[in-house]
Amino acid sequence: MTSPIGCGEAVRRLWEFLDGGLDQRDQRQVEEHLAWCLRCCGEVAFARELRGLLRTRTGIMLPDDVRDRMERFIEHLGDGTEERGRP
């Protein structure tokens, strides 16, 4: 058993907790807090959704015209003649 933490501290560590990015002691403290705090369990589920949204709803496609220009740029990359800018 580690020393107990409050909701504020548990919530502050939530995202890193979900990613397994906390050290063992901090991870354990959050786990113990979540074992009895229903309010923070809701926060965990929400943080998981929110993190997923950030990852899945920020997709950006490379437009064809940009791809064409960049391909031409890359064709000259490293031969000493490349220069920035667009035609």
């Binding site: 504020g8 943080a47 929110l50 490379l62 490293g78 031969d79």
Partner: protein, 208 residues
């Protein structure tokens, strides 16, 4: 006369071009997400810098991360002034902001059994990208590298040349700002009002 700046041996040239072609879609998306500059210009400058320091890349497997670091540093160079600007939103003056609790208190979908999920579901890809751009650049970069690009906090610290503790605080603040901006954006764009009205309308409660 010395060698031309940026001229590489033919094998290095081929390796760099191959790496650049493979990474192009990701670099462009990263440049767009970091925001505040022309993404195409940023990718070009990143590749020019990569060309000049190609000798420092010892392992081609590390190429994607190496390019990410170069692009991020170029972006930071270009946005130096904006990155120094103080954040106009005070830091946690009323305790940490929790979108989870705000949603619970404001209850924008009174008939929903899955309130929090429904609120998040109201945000389209366009909306989430817009919200991300409202987060100040110094926090946005941490969010993008950690939660979209998927680098660990330690790797982000290395890329941004900041102590890990500083990056952890930056990430905490970044998440708070993202949640605050989501709520603010939802209010300004009527995202939840419209959806709630739609929900009521489905139940025959609007205009009846």
């Amino acid at each position: 006369m010395g060698p031309m700046v940026g001229a590489l041996s033919s094998s290095d040239r081929a390796a760099l071009r191959q790496l650049a072609r493979t990474e192009l879609p990701r670099l462009y998306a990263l440049a767009r997400r970091l925001g505040g500059v022309d993404p195409e210009d940023l990718v070009q400058e990143c590749l020019l810098r990569a060309c000049r320091s190609f000798g420092s890349l010892r392992d081609l497997q590390a190429g994607p991360r190496w390019l990410t670091t170069i692009l991020t540093n170029t972006w930071r160079d270009w946005l130096r002034k904006e990155l120094r600007e103080p954040d106009e939103v005070p830091v946690e003056e009323d305790g940490p902001f929790s979108l989870y609790h705000v949603i619970e208190e404001e209850d924008p979908f009174p008939y929903s059994d899955t309130l929090h999920v429904d609120v998040l579901g109201a945000f389209s890809e366009h909306d989430v990208r817009e919200v991300l751009q409202r987060v100040p650049p110094r926090y946005r970069v941490a969010l993008v590298l950690r939660y979209i690009e998927g680098y660990s906090a330690a790797e982000v610290a290395e890329m941004l040349e900041r102590p890990p503790g500083t990056v952890m605080s930056q990430l905490h603040r970044a998440r708070q700002r993202f949640e605050q901006e989501m709520w603010r954006y939802a209010g300004e764009s009527g995202l939840l009002v419209g959806a709630a009205a739609g929900e009521r309308s489905v139940r025959g409660e609007v205009g009846s």
